[in-house]
């Protein structure tokens, strides 16, 4: 029992970034745009945050550098998500293609930037990342909580949230009552970019000391799985992120539990993807996904 309690901070540390990204992905899909670039956007945010934090720490202004690093990560990956927005909203592009493009681009851009800034295929190690509070929790757990609550409130309790959901279900109907579908979808994609960047920064500042090409390692795709498994609702996505994050955490901390030690870590790593696949089969036929998600909307003329 003690060991379970003592592993809660680790689980929360791993759950938080997945949850933040998944909420962003959910908002994006609810507005009608599928974003499979979450993985790449997380990488860009993580690289930007790690670089900023290292440079500020080296310059001696470490006090505010964590917050500034997170903001820079959000900004940079928010800007990159605009590529996806322009492609899928203005140019009616296939959203899977443009997402794949950003994922490939992110692999290049992050390490290229490290090569230019630090002359290595990774960013330089910073000394101190985020620090834990009295309960042993990283601030990322609270950030994730705030993100979930705000997302739920905005989506279900404000007119804007209603508009956003309408754009994902039936954009033509939304436009007919005066909602600017393009603007709302831009916001949806932008929010997913900003939150992915935030999550990337959270990963790099809590779980490692530098950005490498392996830092994200599929977490963006776990977030996509969490969105589908959580059936596109804040509560469901939160539950899914906890389940998947805990599975990831167990692959790290299983060595502390005699009973779990015998199970290879790969089983825990595989779990989120396998569960999502099975869930998609079991729930097949019932449409939980936003109706218009992934379909370009070319405006009232058609």
């Amino acid at each position: 029992m003690n060991m379970i309690i003592s592993s809660i901070p680790t689980i929360l540390m791993i759950v938080a970034p997945i949850l933040i990204t998944a909420i962003g992905g959910m908002i994006c899909e609810r507005s009608g745009v599928v974003n499979i670039a979450l993985e790449g956007l997380m990488g860009i945010g993580a690289c930007a945050a790690a670089s900023t934090h290292y440079l500020m720490e080296a310059a001696g202004c470490g006090r505010y550098s964590i917050a500034v690093a997170l903001l820079v990560g959000m900004l940079v990956s928010g800007l990159f998500s605009l590529i996806h927005a322009v492609a899928s909203i203005n140019f009616n592009a296939d959203q899977t293609i443009s997402g794949t493009g950003i994922n490939l681009l992110a692999d290049g851009v992050t390490i290229f930037a490290s090569q230019i800034l630090f002359h290595a295929d990774r960013t330089k190690e910073f000394k101190v990342g985020m620090v834990v509070d009295k309960l042993g929790l990283y601030p990322t757990a609270y950030i994730a909580l705030v993100v979930v609550l705000v997302a739920w409130y905005v989506l279900y309790k404000t007119p804007f949230g209603l508009h956003l959901r309408a754009c994902g279900e039936h954009p033509a109907a939304a436009e007919s009552v005066g909602i600017n579908v393009r603007r709302i979808r831009y916001i949806g994609v932008g929010v997913s970019g900003i939150l992915s960047g935030l999550a990337g920064g959270c990963i790099v500042l809590t779980q490692t000391i530098q950005y490498t090409s392996n830092t994200i390692n599929g977490r963006g795709f776990i977030a996509i799985a969490a969105v589908a498994f959580g059936r596109w609702t804040p509560l469901g996505v939160t539950g899914a992120a906890f389940l998947f994050g805990a599975a990831q955490a167990f692959s790290v901390i299983a060595t502390n539990f005699p009973a779990l030690k015998v199970i290879p870590a790969e089983w825990f790593n595989m779990l989120p993807y396998a569960i999502t696949l099975i869930a998609l089969i079991v729930f097949s036929g019932k449409d939980y996904a936003p109706q218009a998600s992934g379909k370009p909307y070319s405006g009232g003329a058609s």
């Binding site: 009616n92 392996n214 799985a225 595989m270 989120p272 396998a274 998609l280 089969i281």
Partner: protein
């Protein structure tokens, strides 16, 4: 003057309607932006093109003897790119988006190394490795096809999930193989390797010929058989195909299986192609599957186009180490490839231009009357 204007107009029409021309333009734009980026960060773009040139035609050594090793490596690298490209292209023609090339590739590679290590060595072992890898890739792709056709599970999400199931499954299995450490297994028997050809100093091997055979097979199935007609009809309009008596469920499952088979082959070809001496325990994905998406998109899902695009990506891969030696970060090639895919996504904007021009034309005709 008027004539000149008309000629320019017809050029624009030709350009918008030609997939090949827009592909070339997209690749050109990717390189242009890459070059600008290299120049902006203060490196010499000339070195980048020198590296690309060397990997295309080779280099003379200091005794003046031409060394074709780079060309051989380029062609060897292009083998998996073309094959994973065929995976994506095949699915695309049937109206599916197979981004599971990565998983099918991993399955092929894993089966190849299992066969190589567990089956007693005999001459021609490599044939068995390749055949079973192809079957493995086909099954891994076929699962997605069945899920899509029977349960309406989005093939995009399903393939993403199966990519990672394959990666960790491969680790689970490979760690049990003889001599497994944290990153490799025991050495593979010599009979399992593909024999080298033409340029013995490089890793160019007979799978290059197999790859060309795969391209021809792709072209033949797609363009010349009844099966291929059914595939293309399913891709163009599923409902119309169903109404004309084409078994759409069977077609989708079969198409995903054939599509996956190409990537399964790619996995075996990379493992047995000479770059590795022992089985691999993958720590992360090799990204060949994702690059295959780009290859197919650049090649407009045709056999010839995919082949040419695959060679282009092979050139970029081979030029990476040369670039790094000339103080150009090798990741610029990833950036160029990523930009190419982004520009391809933006290519759909041309449809909007097309519509606009149609509208203008109609307006003019109406006004003329």
């Amino acid at each position: 003057m008027k004539r000149k204007l008309e000629r320019r107009k017809s050029f624009i029409d030709w350009f918008i309607n030609s997939n090949g021309a827009t592909s070339v333009a997209v690749v050109f734009l990717g390189f242009l932006f890459g070059t600008i980026l290299v120049a902006v960060v203060g490196k010499n773009p000339f070195n980048m093109f020198k590296a690309i040139f060397v990997s295309m035609v080779g280099q003379a050594n200091n005794k003046g003897i031409w060394n074709f090793r780079y060309v051989g490596e380029t062609l060897a690298y292009s083998i998996p790119y073309v094959l994973t490209g065929l995976t994506m292209a095949f699915a695309c023609r049937v109206g599916l988006f197979n981004i599971g090339g990565e998983g099918q590739y991993v399955i092929g590679m894993t089966i190849a190394q299992m066969v190589a290590l567990l089956v007693p060595a005999f001459p021609g072992l490599w044939v068995l490795c390749l055949v079973l890898a192809v079957i493995g890739g086909a099954i891994w792709g076929g699962i997605v096809g069945i899920l899509k056709a029977k349960f309406q599970v989005s093939e995009v999400v399903a393939t993403i999930m199966l990519n990672y199931v394959a990666l960790y499954g491969s680790r689970l299995v490979s760690l049990q193989l003889p001599g497994a450490t944290t990153y490799k297994t025991a050495a593979l028997p010599s009979q399992a390797f593909l024999s080298k050809m033409i340029i013995p100093t490089s890793n160019l091997n007979i799978s290059f010929i197999i790859m060309i055979g795969a391209c021809l097979l792709y072209w033949f199935i797609m363009e010349k058989t009844k099966l291929g007609f059914g595939f293309r009809a399913t891709g163009l309009n599923k409902d119309a195909a169903r109404c004309s008596g084409i078994n759409v469920v069977k077609n989708i499952s079969l198409a995903m299986a054939i599509s996956g088979a190409f990537s399964g082959l790619a996995g075996a070809c990379v493992l047995l192609g000479g770059a590795f001496t022992s089985g691999r325990i993958l720590a992360a994905q090799d990204n060949y599957g994702f690059m295959g998406i780009a290859v197919a998109l650049v090649g407009n899902n045709t056999a010839l186009g995919t082949f040419i695009a695959g060679i282009l990506f092979g050139i970029l891969k081979e030029s990476q180490s040369l670039m790094q030696n000339m103080d150009i970060p090798k990741e610029i090639t990833f950036i160029i490839q990523g930009l190419i895919v982004v520009f391809i996504a933006l290519r759909s904007g041309l449809e909007l231009v097309k519509q606009l021009r149609e509208k203008q034309k109609v307006r003019k005709e109406v006004l003329a009357k």
